[in-house]
């Protein structure tokens, strides 16, 4: 088991490094040149300037070393984001030093590696996050943030934060690397849909004719049940109670939203080739867009991917988040706990289906009424009524 934090619960310092770069080399060369000139000419002003150069070198090492030794960086919880959206990585930077401020800090995420071996990392998902801190005073804490736009769905693993600085004189670049493992879920891009496309599926939402009913606080009679302490006396069905000999109360119905299944009809294995991969991602993006649009239309949305993954149809923000997370991770290396599919109830008669495939000619899953979308022609949709095939139309 790795130990990304130290005993105090703070990120562990993996290593400290001094990088000599061009300005430092030039500085050293000028200092040597000055020393040679001073010795050659015995010009005391040059002797003093050489002294200044040496003092600059010593003080640079002292100031930068003591400043960076006291810097503590911790990555805060990373919120979920979507491909193309903004992912904000926030850092808490604390300077433990009592006297020396830390200035000109550049905070970057480093690729994950252990003993020289590269590990799965964030690098495949986004450009390098970088944050800047101008100054952290002694015993002060500031917050900095890096904003990146992820380019790929999945779970990005962050493990190494590198803080570097060339302060005060830019002679060397000093860096400290902290280890703190964290994952960030990158949802697929939400493909925009033509408004009203889901209306092709017929009536939907609350109160529609096709809505299912369940026990709730509506006005329509749903059934009777035994009285339980706490039930309102006004709900007691006195006549039925008298007939059965025990207290029963009336139950009223509440309209349940219509259920819509997003069916991602793609093979489980990733196909070879960039183009196919792009179509697959487009299909996933379409599925995410459909799910979000369906939630906004009031559907309870379920998800089915290929032969395996199924998520029960539910409504609400948490359900949408679960679907997007599942779409982010279904064929990626799994990092979060998978949804258990055994308890997912089967589709019902009035459920609507949106089937999304990579190619329009793929027909491995065909329910009765379904709206079909394909990634190779995202502008083209078709609606299959039970047993009939409607003419294709362009949205």
């Amino acid at each position: 088991m790795s130990a990304p934090v130290n005993d105090a619960g703070r990120p562990r310092i993996a290593r400290r490094r001094y990088h000599l770069h061009l300005p430092g080399v030039i500085y050293a060369a000028v200092a040597v040149f000055t020393a040679v000139g001073a010795l050659n000419s015995q010009n005391n002003l040059l002797f003093w300037l050489f002294g200044v150069a040496v003092a600059g070198l010593i003080l640079s090492g002292f100031v930068s070393g003591s400043a960076l030794m006291g810097v503590q960086v911790e990555r805060e919880a990373i919120p979920e984001s979507a491909v193309g959206g903004a992912l904000v990585v926030r850092y808490r930077v604390h300077n433990r030093n009592r006297f020396v401020p830390a200035c000109a800090l550049t905070i970057t995420e480093s690729p994950n590696a252990r003993r020289g071996r590269p590990l799965p990392s964030w690098t495949a998902y986004m450009p390098q996050p970088a944050a800047f801190v101008a100054h952290v005073g002694p015993r002060q804490t500031v917050h900095a943030e890096a904003v990146v736009r992820p380019t790929r769905r999945g779970e990005a693993i962050f493990s190494r934060i590198t803080v570097s600085s060339t302060f005060p004189f830019g002679l060397t670049r000093k860096s400290v690397t902290f280890e703190q493992e964290q994952g960030a879920i990158v949802h697929p891009r939400l493909a925009p849909l033509r408004s009203g496309l889901l209306r092709m599926l017929g009536p939907q939402g609350d109160g529609s004719a096709a809505a299912l009913r369940s026990a709730g606080l509506g006005g329509e009679f749903y059934g009777l049940r035994e009285y339980t302490p706490g039930d309102s006396h006004r709900l007691i069905a006195w006549r039925a109670s008298a007939r059965t000999g025990q207290l029963v109360v009336r139950q009223t119905s509440r309209p349940a939203p219509r259920r819509l299944w997003v069916v991602l009809d793609i093979p489980d294995e990733r196909p070879a080739g960039d183009r196919m991969d792009a179509q697959r991602e487009e299909a996933v993006s379409l599925a995410a867009g459909v799910a979000k649009a369906a939630f906004e239309e009031g559907y309870a949305v379920g998800l089915s991917i290929g032969e395996g993954t199924r998520l029960a149809a539910r409504s609400g923000r948490l359900a949408l988040r679960a679907i997007l997370t599942e779409l982010a991770l279904f064929d990626a290396p799994r990092a979060t706990r998978p949804q258990e599919s055994g308890r997912v109830p089967p589709p019902r008669r009035l459920d609507a289906f949106v089937v999304i495939s990579e190619r329009a000619d793929r027909r491995t899953w065909t329910p009765g009424d379904a709206l079909r979308l394909s990634a190779d022609a995202p502008g083209v949709w078709s609606f299959h009524a039970a047993g009939t095939l409607s003419p294709e139309a362009r949205p």
Binding site: W48, I58, C103, A131, A134, V148, P338
Partner: protein, 754 residues
């Protein structure tokens, strides 16, 4: 256009570097011009609505400047001065191209190189002061630049990521409280540290080692123009320097009375070159100098050389410090007649026994020497001199001389012989006529083409400066058979009561005449009217002049303590290290660059002392660190004690919640410990990133702990039992996770949770 941090500081550094170079090189006009241009370009490019030319224009201009420098280098004239001028042009061009921190860094680098150019050109007080002022401002500018550069780096990364689909938004300046104050304090600390460390390096660096190994570059004295010249070009008109730059410091001791002498109104003629050959336009060294070969050789520091002198009695000892002697061969200045010379700094010495001219050859910069001199004795008895020397080649000069002598009633020619005392009377008559009949001016016109300048001065212009007067008198003397030579040097007239020495400036350069009034008996005659001499060379009145003189006293201290810090000064500073008195002589014996290994014993003493000193410093430092750590630990202990719960009931309830501390211990042992600052509920939520089971387990335990800590009641047995069960589940979960080789499912892809 928004200005970057440190923009004004950068401009200040630029201006100071330009001022330092201008002061060092004496090219004030160019320095002022460039300074004004810098200010203008600052306003043009950095002001409101500032605009910059396209980058290709800037590149073309820089290329032109580089090509010009290459052309100069092929011509063999690319010295420090030319290189500094090249830097100035590049700096001006670069001022038009200030687009980002990289450009500001280049400007700062150019300033630093210009400052080095100034140090290579001059080591005057003004240059040193300007560099000293520039240092902290440069440090502050560089520190602010590093902040701007770091921000630019992040902006660059974000732009790159924007091209790759990232967010290219501008980067906010995240800074803690009082960051300007912190930077000011850090600058002050860095400045003080730099001064201390540089002073240490300055003192510790060996002197005399490797001198002139790479030629004579880097010598701050090279090329300095002073009022003194070893030739007198009469045909040029007014060329007398009016610069107030101090050239040398003179202290005069009366050897017979053993006291220091001098004062206002007491003038000393410090002769440098003796010019005895007239070319028709200028007086040059020749003739007499060639009749007897020069003598001398290497003169170590403190050694004395006898110059001859015809038995003159030693009367005065002159202690002279040349503030900025040129490198290579140069004249030394003495009072007629020099008898001995002692080089306090060593060097090659050469002298001519006939003319009494002393030359030294060595490193430039400050040079100290002492000269003993005395009044030559007039030979006893009556002497005649044959007047068969060829007359001065200009006919009009002889006519004028004879006319003057005739008017004075002096006849030189008596059967081809002339009594020597008559020659003195003739010289005095000629001197008197020049003083009374001619006027002094610094604005003398040059002689017309084809006309001898001395003849023109005697017959037509009748006005000129000291070189004209001296040339005319020497010419007239020689035209009538009296041997005479033109002497160039300085007159010491400005006496500082505060320091008891004379300050001689470039404007004190003077020319006069020495006339041979007996065999080897040369007397000084100054044909310039004493009133004019006083008027020209007397210290200037007024507040500004007084201030200048006060600054001169400071510069005198600067020259003596800083510029003049040499092997001997360094050796005396470290005299406590040495075990014997003659060690300084063994330190680096090669005065002219010959390096010999020093005595190992001395090195042993130095290393031993260094070891002891470093051990003391190290022990002190470790002691300070230990004390500091103890204080910190004590404070932490007090803080922990303060954090304990005062209420005994609450403390008892919390003590019952052992499951909570056990859970924290388990998490810490597994590497996912809760930071002190993070509440347990928040940490539980954070753990969801790692594993949902862990998160839920800790949340349940945290809720039970909250009830015990803040709920105002004791936990029920059921709640404790439930919390214990949660703890067991947490332990199991951690055991499962730790059994997985790849670590947590949430931390490594491809390892689904069991």
């Amino acid at each position: 256009m928004t200005r970057r941090p440190g923009y004004a500081l950068n401009v200040a550094v630029l201006l100071l570097a330009i001022a330092a170079w201008g002061t060092a090189s004496g090219d004030a006009v160019r320095a002022v011009f460039v300074g004004v241009c810098v200010l203008l370009t600052t306003w043009i490019t950095g002001g409101p609505g500032g605009r910059m030319p396209p980058r290709w224009v800037v590149n073309v201009l820089v290329l032109a400047a580089i090509l010009d420098a290459v052309r100069l280098s092929f011509g063999g004239s690319l010295g420090v001065d030319e290189f500094a001028r090249f830097l100035l042009w590049v700096l001006l061009i670069k001022m038009l191209d200030r687009r980002g921190p990289r450009d500001e860094a280049q400007l700062l680098s150019l300033s630093v190189f210009l400052a080095f150019g100034a140090a290579l050109t001059s080591n005057s007080l003004a240059t040193g002061l300007l560099l000293l002022v520039m240092m902290p401002i440069l440090a502050a500018a560089v520190m602010r630049h590093q902040i701007a550069a770091a921000r630019e780096r992040v902006v660059h990364l974000r732009r790159q990521s924007a091209q790759a689909g990232g967010d290219g938004a501008d980067v906010a300046l995240v800074a803690g409280r009082w960051w300007h104050r912190d930077l000011r304090r850090l600058t002050a600390v860095v400045t003080c540290g730099t001064l201390l460390l540089s002073a240490g390096v300055f003192v510790l660096m060996p002197r005399g080692l490797g001198m002139d190994r790479f030629g004579r570059w880097g010598n701050a004295g090279v090329g300095r123009v002073t009022g003194f010249s070893s030739t007198v070009d009469v045909g040029l008109g007014g060329i007398i320097s009016e610069s107030q730059t101090p050239v040398l410091d003179l202290t005069v001791h009366d050897m017979q009375r053993g006291v220091r002498v001098g004062g206002e109104g007491e003038v000393y003629y410090l002769r440098g070159a003796a010019l005895d050959t007239y070319t028709g336009r200028a007086w040059i060294v020749g003739g007499q100098a060639g009749t007897q070969p020069e003598q001398g050789g290497a003169l170590p520091a403190g050694a004395r050389s006898e110059l001859g002198g015809g038995g003159a009695e030693r009367e005065l000892r002159l202690s002279i410090t040349l503030r900025n002697a040129p490198s290579g061969q140069s004249h030394l200045f003495t009072v007629w007649r020099p008898l001995t010379v002692t080089f306090l700094d060593g060097g090659q010495e050469r002298h001519n026994p006939l003319t009494g001219v002393i030359l030294r050859e060595g490193q430039g910069g400050k040079f100290r020497y002492e000269v003993e001199c005395g009044e030559p004795r007039l030979p006893r008895g009556r002497f005649w001199r044959r007047l068969d020397r060829p007359s001065f080649p200009v006919a009009g000069v002889r006519e004028r001389a004879e006319e003057i002598l005739r008017e004075a009633g002096i006849t030189l020619d008596e059967l081809g012989l002339c009594p020597l005392d008559r020659m003195r009377e003739a010289a005095v008559a000629l001197r008197t006529e020049l003083r009374n009949g001619y006027s002094y001016t610094l604005d003398s016109p040059p002689a017309p083409a084809g006309r001898d300048p001395i003849d023109y001065f005697l017959h037509e212009s009748r006005a000129g400066h000291c070189e004209h007067f001296a040339s005319a008198m020497a010419a007239m003397c020689r035209s009538v058979g009296i041997d005479a030579r033109v002497i160039t040097g300085y007159v010491a007239v400005e006496f500082s009561q505060a320091t008891g020495h004379y300050i001689v400036r470039e404007s004190n350069a003077h020319a006069w005449v020495e006339v041979e009034e007996g065999p080897g008996y040369w007397r000084v005659h100054d044909p310039t009217a004493p009133a004019d001499l006083r008027r020209l060379h007397a210290p200037r009145p007024g507040l500004l002049a007084r201030l200048t003189r006060a600054l001169d006293a400071v510069e005198y201290a600067w020259i003596n303590s800083f510029v003049g810090f040499d092997r001997s000064a360094r050796a005396s500073l470290f005299s406590w290290v040495r075990s014997d008195a003659d060690a300084p002589a063994r330190e680096f014996p090669g005065v002219a660059g010959d390096f010999e290994l020093p005595d190992w014993r001395w090195w042993g003493v130095v290393l031993g002392n260094a070891l002891v000193a470093s051990s003391v410093v190290l022990a002190g430092g470790l002691g300070v660190v230990a004390i500091f750590r103890r204080i910190r630990a004590a404070r932490a202990l007090r803080a922990r004690n303060r954090a304990t719960i005062d209420d005994p009931d609450v403390r008892a309830r919390v003590q019952e919640a052992v499951f909570y501390t056990d859970a924290l211990g388990l998490l810490r042992a597994s590497g996912v410990g809760k930071p002190d600052h993070r509440p347990p509920e928040l940490h539980a939520r954070e753990l969801a990133r790692v594993d949902l089971g862990l998160s839920e387990g800790l949340q349940a335990i945290a809720r039970a702990f909250y009830i015990a800590r803040f709920g105002g009641r004791r936990l029920t047995p059921d709640e404790i039992e439930r919390a214990e069960r949660d703890l067991a589940r947490l332990r199991d979960r951690l055991a499962i996770l730790s059994g997985s080789k790849a670590g947590y499912p949430g931390s490594r892809p491809g390892t689904p949770a069991s």
